[in-house]
């Protein structure tokens, strides 16, 4: 009991003392997850929009697969990427294993199905009359797609936030392909796992507090987006 409360106050002290290592770790976490999200959005949003708007072949298979991949176990992603990126693997010559790039790739793989599926769902949910309106006002298919993406913006943003929530809390994949190397590939989750393993709780708890705060913010953001979407949907009563 004593160790927990003492550990907690030491952790809080650590946060407010501006500890260099702590901030290095937080920064790398944000950079890795941020980059992964950006990539996931660049892939998942256009792909989701394409499958939402076009009757592509294998449409329902792809959608089902992506829905399933939303729950991919991170350790499985880590394992597969490890095999691909390790020296004897097909992409071994790139020497990406145990680098931040490998971690970004792993998190991109985890986040893309979420962004894809939630973007698709948001775009499909846009009232068909909006699409007709865009078309009859002279939109090209591309302009029509952009219009629908804009109409689905709250749902899409919610998807991106949800993706961020997932990857920033994930430990299995980044640990396996990042290796938790000090000052190089240590992120919040891997540090927590490792420090706890060593029986050193101060840094782990400090990072735990930060991580919790982050996920709190993520949830606030998510809720705000969903609420905004609902509020505006309610206005579409006679239109």
């Amino acid at each position: 009991m004593e160790t927990i409360s003492q550990g907690f106050s030491r952790a809080v002290n650590l946060i407010f003392s501006g500890d260099r290592e702590l901030f290095e770790i937080i920064l790398l976490s944000l950079r890795v997850s941020g980059a992964a999200l950006l990539l996931a959005a660049l892939i998942g949003l256009p792909a989701g929009a394409l499958f939402a708007l076009k009757r592509l072949p294998l449409r329902s298979l792809v959608i089902n697969l992506m829905n399933t991949f939303m729950g991919l176990p991170p350790v499985v992603v880590g394992l597969v990427l490890y095999l691909i990126l390790s020296r004897s693997g097909p992409l071994g010559i790139l020497s990406l294993l145990y680098t931040p790039s490998a971690m970004i790739i792993a998190q991109t793989v985890l986040a893309t199905p979420i962004v894809f599926s939630l973007s698709l769902a948001a775009i499909v949910a846009v009232d068909p009359v909006i699409r007709q309106a865009a078309r009859t006002l002279g939109a090209t298919p591309f302009q029509e797609a952009l219009t629908l993406i804009r109409e689905a913006r709250y749902g899409i943003t919610a998807g991106i936030i949800a993706g961020f929530g997932r990857v920033s809390a994930e430990v299995g994949a980044v640990l396996m392909v990042g290796g938790n190397i000090a000052h190089y590939t240590r992120v919040m989750t891997t540090t927590i796992a490792l420090e706890t393993d060593k029986g050193e709780f101060d840094l782990a708890m400090a990072l735990g507090i930060i991580l919790l705060t982050l996920s709190l913010l993520v949830n606030f953001g998510l809720r705000a987006m969903q609420r905004q979407g609902q509020v505006e949907a309610r206005f579409r009563q006679w239109d």
Binding site: L137, E232, F235, D239
Partner: protein, 218 residues
């Protein structure tokens, strides 16, 4: 030079139910046409086909300019527009809704501004220009739909029940605008309505939809 719209032997069925049957008709440039007919007889379907929003099962939708046929490409499609019974407003301001068609055509900002202003003025929504479009009343929403269509200055304007679910005051505004357009004869108006008195007020050519075809008399 205006556009002539020629429907030639149009057929359309939905799941075995024949909705449009061998419909042929020519809409002359600058004309006003009022189409009436019972619920479910295929008026909206025919309008969507004529406005190139839906393909017929058989038959041809032709557009002619001084007798010469025109390819139904995006440039032609941009000369037609339709106002739906449910307008389908974009989730942004009133002014940006009206600007939409101009924006996607790459119309210059100053001209866009002027055309948005005059379209809003016409339907008397100038005071609402910065309001979020989704917060408009149903009558204002329909007026917005009309302004949005007029802003692009189409050759043919299709209106599917523009006053069916709105009150007398809003109906009056919309009728006024449409009657003025009808008198100018600069564009073709094709209006579907259930209101016989209104149909008479438009003093255009009255058509009925019967057995999937357009006829002059019931």
């Amino acid at each position: 030079m205006g556009l002539t719209l020629e429907l030639a032997h149009i057929y359309k069925a939905y799941g075995g139910q024949q909705v449009v049957t061998d419909c042929s008709f020519t809409f002359e440039p600058g004309g006003t046409y009022v189409i009436m007919g019972p619920n479910g007889c295929g008026k909206s379907t025919l309008l969507r086909i004529a406005a190139l929003l839906e393909k017929p099962d058989q038959g041809e939708v032709k557009f002619l300019n001084g007798g010469n046929p025109i390819e139904p490409d995006i440039n032609l499609k941009r000369r037609l527009t339709m106002v739906f019974p449910r307008v389908g407003v974009f989730n942004t301001t009133v002014a940006k809704n009206v600007a939409y068609g101009l924006q996607i055509r790459g119309v210059a900002k100053s001209e866009m501004q002027a055309r948005v202003d005059s379209a809003l003025e016409l339907v008397r929504l100038t005071h609402k220009r910065t309001q979020r479009a989704l917060t408009l009343s149903s009558g204002e929403t329909m007026r917005l739909g009309l302004a949005r269509g007029l802003a692009i200055e189409p050759d043919i304007l299709f209106l599917d029940e523009p006053t069916t679910s709105i009150d007398v005051a809003n109906t009056k505004i919309i009728e006024q605008v449409l009657r003025r357009i009808s008198q100018d004869k600069k564009l073709t108006l094709i209006i579907v309505t259930h209101d016989a008195a209104q149909a008479a007020r438009f003093s255009g050519r009255l058509l009925f939809m019967r057995d999937g075809n357009l006829v002059d008399h019931l």
